[in-house]
């Protein structure tokens, strides 16, 4: 049996991994299919602050917008932002990690020190400044999150590369006279996909948290539907402490954010457990 099949079979046996995978699949499908499933929550209606009912599954807010629809369309924003963030951080983090892990010269040392410095900076405040200055559009938010999500990936990639580059087959490849680029791409990169994959699930989860936080602080795109923006409006209208309490308004989007993040984290943990030699039978 080849290794990949074996991995898939062991993954299917991990309960939390499958739960995470199913959750992620549902969110992705819902986000992709949102335009087919329902109209976008447009226009204001007279149904203000109604509780969950058959007409409005998750109730309405103070403008009469259907919260269930807002959440469904918000999933698209979250997925878009996290996908862009992952692309950018893979684009920056993986090459940096490969070079700093493989290079034995000052280049590697310098890159490593730079990554360490970026890891210590308070990232959310930095994102806030950048998002405030770039202006609120969903692409800007995605760019900002991507631009500051790579350090962790670079670190993980570097540590994995360091381990692989000590292996004998790398030594063999060097002896065969392969170029550095070829060794890095064909021999090192293919063998560090595991840790990189785990870190990507973490970045997905964290960028949704970052996007929701930025939107919550008023740095989101006012024209896009976003879970953080719903929370911002709920909070701005004192929905949490008002009497009578429109609990569906603040609870539903929060639960969505948590579920999204938990699913991606469970997926990551399951992959990580399968990859670490300690748990392998």
């Amino acid at each position: 049996m080849n290794q990949r099949e074996n991995f898939a079979r062991r993954f299917a046996r991990s309960k939390s991994g499958m739960l995470g995978l199913i959750g992620v699949a549902i969110i992705v499908l819902a986000g992709l299919a949102a335009p087919l499933l329902a109209r976008s929550p447009a226009g204001y209606s007279r149904d203000i602050l109604l509780g969950p009912s058959a007409a409005h599954l998750l109730g309405t807010d103070n403008l009469g917008l259907d919260i269930g629809l807002e959440i469904l369309w918000g999933a698209r924003t979250s997925l878009y932002v996290s996908a862009v963030a992952v692309l950018i951080s893979v684009g920056i983090g993986v090459p940096l990690g490969l070079v700093s892990g493989y290079s034995r010269s000052w280049v590697g040392e310098t890159l490593d020190a730079a990554v360490d410095i970026f890891l210590t900076l308070p990232i959310l405040p930095l994102m806030i400044i950048m998002a405030a200055i770039m202006g609120t559009s969903i692409t800007n938010v995605a760019l900002v999150i991507g631009l500051f999500s790579w350090p962790q990936l670079a670190k993980v990639c570097k540590n994995a590369t360091l381990k692989i580059s000590g292996m004998q087959y790398i030594e063999a490849a060097v002896c065969l006279g392969y170029s550095r680029g070829r060794i890095l791409l064909h021999h090192v990169l293919r063998n560090i996909t595991g840790p990189v994959l785990v870190n990507i699930t973490l970045i997905m989860a964290n960028s949704v948290l970052a996007e929701s936080s930025l939107s919550f602080l008023g740095l989101g795109d006012p024209t896009a539907w976003s879970w953080g923006t719903i929370l911002k409006r709920a909070w701005g209208n004192n929905a949490v402490i008002n009497n009578p309490n429109p609990w569906w308004w603040w609870l539903a989007p929060s639960v969505c954010i948590i579920v999204f993040v938990v699913c991606f984290n469970m997926l990551g943990t399951a992959i990580n457990d399968l990859l670490s030699p300690k748990t392998q039978a």
């Binding site: 806030i128 008023g218 909070w235 639960v255």
Partner: protein, 323 residues
């Protein structure tokens, strides 16, 4: 030890320098630069020129950067666009509140996180460990507004036992009542921020304790007759703390980011709330100064944890080994 400390201090300074440079260029290189924001198109040309000159905005970027660094060294962070107060003065008013919050959170995180991690490691695979594992997975996924909303809903709306926001009930009371009042207001924000940061500390304490428990020297200690308690206290704890302390250091950056959201929700009058208000007013000097102050605090905290790690781990302070 000295070489190690000097190296760490140099890196701290470099980190601060990089955050200074980053903010300078982010603020100036972006499409809507502060020049356009400061200058109202209805002003006369002379007023515009005068303002440009006053803030040094007519000079080339490199000169502006040099002037900015010079001002920074003299403690001059510029003037807030909205309140016209010097930024440094505004920051000094807000800083104690954030420091108070972070100190309470740190005490909670270490005081609860380390014992919980040790418990999970000692009961590995048993019920307590499994429960803690589930809580940790939830903890690393928590979204601060959600947790704050739950707390506000339960304690302020349903039970009506805790205040919804602010740091004290105006008018400002005096003496002991003031202290108690601030403490009452600090409970919810501190609990929120502590819970979001607990998970990582528990996880690292648990895993590093498990690693150390498997070491030969722990078995040796038990074999020569040390009680399990003594082996834990003398041989395991110190070595298990090294990764935990490193993680707490790295966590400070995240914690400070969380403080921005937490302070905003609970109207806690610290740096985080100030940043939130500055976003609405597009007050760039305040945003820039606030970020710099947060970076400096994070770097300082990291330096302290580096020293702690050096003290815990002789390999680091004596040899060239890297943590």
């Amino acid at each position: 030890m000295r070489r190690y400390l000097l190296g760490r201090a140099a890196r701290s300074l470099l980190t601060i320098f990089i955050s200074v440079t980053l903010t300078f260029f982010i603020v100036r290189a972006m499409p809507s630069n502060p020049v356009e924001l400061l200058i109202n198109p209805y002003m006369s040309q002379e007023t515009q020129d005068m303002l440009m000159q006053k803030y040094g905005l007519d000079k080339p970027l490199a000169v502006q950067y040099a002037l900015f660094l010079k001002g920074l060294l003299q403690g001059d962070l510029g003037v807030s666009f909205s309140s016209r107060q010097p930024v440094a003065q505004v920051l000094l008013q807000k800083l104690p509140w954030t420091l108070l919050l972070i100190a309470i959170v740190m005490a909670l995180v270490l005081g609860i996180g380390i014992p919980t991690g040790l418990l999970a490691a000692r009961r590995r695979g048993k019920l307590a460990d499994q429960v803690i594992n589930v809580l940790v997975t939830l903890g690393i996924s928590i979204f601060i507004p959600f947790l704050s909303f739950m707390f506000l809903y339960i304690f302020s709306y349903l039970l009506k036992v805790l205040p919804t926001g602010g740091a004290y009930t105006p008018p400002k009371p005096h003496g002991l009542t003031y202290v108690l009042d601030v403490a009452r207001h600090a409970i919810l924000p501190a609990a929120t921020l502590a819970i979001t940061n607990l998970a990582n500390v528990v996880l690292y304490t648990r895993n590093s304790t498990l690693d150390v428990l498997g070491e030969d020297y722990v078995r040796t200690a038990r074999a020569k007759g040390a009680s399990p308690k003594r082996a834990m206290r003398v041989h395991v704890l110190r070595n298990a703390m090294i990764p935990t302390v490193t993680v707490v250091g790295l966590q400070v950056g995240v914690m400070v980011g969380g403080a921005v959201v937490t302070e905003t929700i609970f109207a806690w009058p610290g740096i985080g709330r100030m940043l939130f208000e500055a976003i609405g007013a597009l007050d760039y000097p305040i945003l820039q100064g606030g970020f710099l102050l947060l970076s400096v605090s994070v770097v300082t905290m990291n330096f302290i944890t580096d020293m702690l790690v050096g003290w815990l781990d002789p390999r680091i302070r004596l040899g060239g080994g890297r943590p």
